[in-house]
């Protein structure tokens, strides 16, 4: 088995969560890479789909934004933002859409902050804001979230809820009026977290080779159940070859 980088493992771990036939909503960066990898490896019938309105893009090169001309190539339809968000709620297509998101902070229920650190009115750090993330997290029945495992990012309470997860636990989404469904996996640089079906709380599902569950807990601002965790299968030579040679030969997203 070849050596691999953390980022490569993250992309593959996310790609493995995508089911054949899913309509995959991708953001900028590693989520596009995961969707591309899934399409070339295990989910050939999946559809790459962007909030900008591009449907079933053929990515011959990695897009640098979800609006890139590269997402417009050889699509079924190039629509608009209004079309894209309707697709996530449409009664025929909506339940097939899977969303991939990232954020600066996450809490135990998968609520995400991509707006500010500190007080909203006097922020210590300002981020980009929702973009389409809050829309996706509101509408889509399954979301995957990319995070870095750090104490300041896995926090008991996020500074600002940009995108809704399970809100405050069982029934939380229903009480606020949100559709059913919500976050189902968090892919980090150390492992994979899932959400308990009953409590809606995050738990450790998998840890990467060489990383102990203890070390993962040390990098979180709250404690989670680790009793169900198993070691994640490292990427195969085939998975790595597709990722490196087909998806991102310039290493624009994978980096050095």
């Amino acid at each position: 088995m070849s050596a691999y980088t953390q980022r490569e493992l993250m992309a593959i771990a996310a790609a493995r969560q995508i089911r054949d036939g899913d309509i995959v909503f991708c953001g900028t960066g590693i989520s596009m890479l995961a969707a591309m990898a899934a399409k070339h490896i295990s989910a050939p019938q999946s559809v790459l789909f962007f909030e900008t309105g591009a449907i079933d893009s053929v990515l011959e090169e990695i897009p640098m934004t979800v609006a890139d001309s590269r997402v417009m190539f050889w699509t079924s339809v190039n629509g608009s933002l209004a079309d894209a968000f309707a697709t996530m709620q449409n009664r025929i297509t909506g339940s097939h859409v899977i969303g991939i998101l990232g954020a600066a902070q996450i809490d135990r229920f998968g609520n995400l902050n991509s707006t500010v650190i500190g007080d909203y009115h006097k922020p210590a750090v300002r981020f980009s804001g929702s973009g389409g993330a809050s829309d996706v997290a509101s509408f889509v029945s399954r979301t995957i979230i990319f995070m870095q495992h750090e104490k300041r990012k896995f926090v008991p309470k996020v500074d600002y809820i940009t995108s809704p997860g399970w809100i405050d636990g069982p029934g939380g989404r229903g009480r606020t009026g949100l559709p059913e469904g919500g976050p189902f996996a968090v892919i980090t640089n150390m492992g994979i977290m899932y959400f308990d079906e009953r409590t809606k709380e995050m738990y450790l599902g998998g840890y990467y080779p060489g990383i102990s569950p203890r070390r993962i807990l040390d990098n979180m601002g709250f404690s989670v159940d680790i009793s169900r965790a198993a070691e994640v299968t490292p990427p195969s030579d085939h998975e790595l070859r597709i990722l490196r040679e087909v998806c991102d030969p310039q290493r624009l997203i994978l980096g050095g």
Partner: protein, 328 residues
């Protein structure tokens, strides 16, 4: 008012169009998305004319929004996303202005901003959605009540959560009402337009069409002016009817340094250099002096960049982008 000049020849130059329709304190939206098809030539002209106190609306415009903020043109911002794709996960001048407390921002989502432009285009006061229920987008307001009272163009409330009045089946209990946007002017860059202002956008339209229809005045910059017959021979491909449009300005490479589908790519070298300058106030002032104030017009700006660099961005006809462009 705009219907009077419905069929007129609206071709003009950029300095004239901006001078006429973009004014101090006006409510304005710009088309495009992140570093794609932003009306950059018109944005640079706005900066050159030193028009201030803009109330700017955008969903995910990166480069255009950031340059307007950096040049001190923007007093208030309503936005969903202040990022520039892989070139800036958060736009730097936007981030600095918000962190320094000099720029009041109202945060919405991309879909909400789209619906807001759509409501303006439709002439209704709001549209409903389920987006962002349970989040701080609803609970936290960037504009104070006083600011909202002061300007009649800003709605009294940011968003309103209400019971679904059609809730017979009980499946959708609540909705969020998003207020309409009715701007003074929208500026869009398109690939083709005729003299009357009928426009054709190639590739994704983002929310450009809704923006055009929710504005009192529309400035269209375009890669090329084509004949009315050219556009009308294939009208299914046109998106903006002429009677919304006030000014048509031919500006080749008018979206540069952002991209324009089937015409040219974004310029990675420019965007990376911009990102570096944006981090530092002195460097940023020098950037504006050199490229914006130091160029008489967009043509002079492009001459500073030089034909070699511009030519490398030209789109390949099969894909619509510059295949193999070094984008590091």
């Amino acid at each position: 008012m705009r219907i009077e000049k419905g069929r007129a020849n609206k071709i003009t130059n950029l300095a004239e169009a901006v001078n006429r329709y973009v004014f101090d304190g006006c409510h304005i939206s710009i088309g495009g998305f992140t570093m794609v098809r932003n009306p950059m030539a018109a944005i640079y002209e706005t900066i050159r004319q030193r028009i201030k106190n803009l109330h700017l609306y955008a969903h995910s415009n990166g480069q255009g929004v950031d340059e307007l903020i950096g040049a001190g043109c923007v007093a208030k911002l309503e936005i969903a996303y202040g990022g520039n794709g892989r070139f800036a996960s958060t736009c730097v001048r936007f981030r600095k202005a918000v962190e320094q407390g000099t720029l009041p921002v109202e945060d919405y989502t991309n879909y909400q901003m789209t619906l807001r432009f759509m409501a303006g285009a439709m002439g209704v006061p709001f549209l409903p959605t389920r987006s962002s229920l349970g989040t701080d987008i609803i609970d936290k307001w960037g504009f104070t009540e006083a600011m909202r009272k002061e300007d009649p163009k800003i709605p009294d409330q940011k968003l309103i959560v209400t019971d679904n009045p059609f809730n017979k089946s009980g499946t959708i209990p609540k909705v969020v009402l998003v207020p309409a946007i009715n701007t003074d002017v929208a500026i869009l860059h398109v690939q083709k337009a005729d003299a009357q202002g009928t426009a054709r956008i190639h590739g994704l339209t983002f929310s450009d069409v809704e923006q055009a229809k929710s504005a009192r005045h529309v400035i269209l910059t375009c890669e090329e002016i084509v004949s009315q017959d050219d556009l009308r021979a294939d009208p299914d491909q046109n998106q903006i009817p002429f009677f919304y449009v006030d000014a048509v300005v031919p500006v080749p490479f008018g979206a540069y340094p952002t991209s324009c589908h089937r015409c040219y790519d974004y310029d990675p070298a420019y965007l990376n250099e911009y990102l570096k300058s944006a981090q530092d106030d002195t460097l940023f002032a020098a950037y504006l002096d050199k490229y914006v104030y130091g160029s008489r017009d967009h043509q002079a700006f492009l001459e500073q960049i030089g034909p070699d660099r511009i030519n490398r961005l030209k789109a390949d006809p099969r894909t619509g982008y510059a295949v193999g462009l070094d984008r590091r």
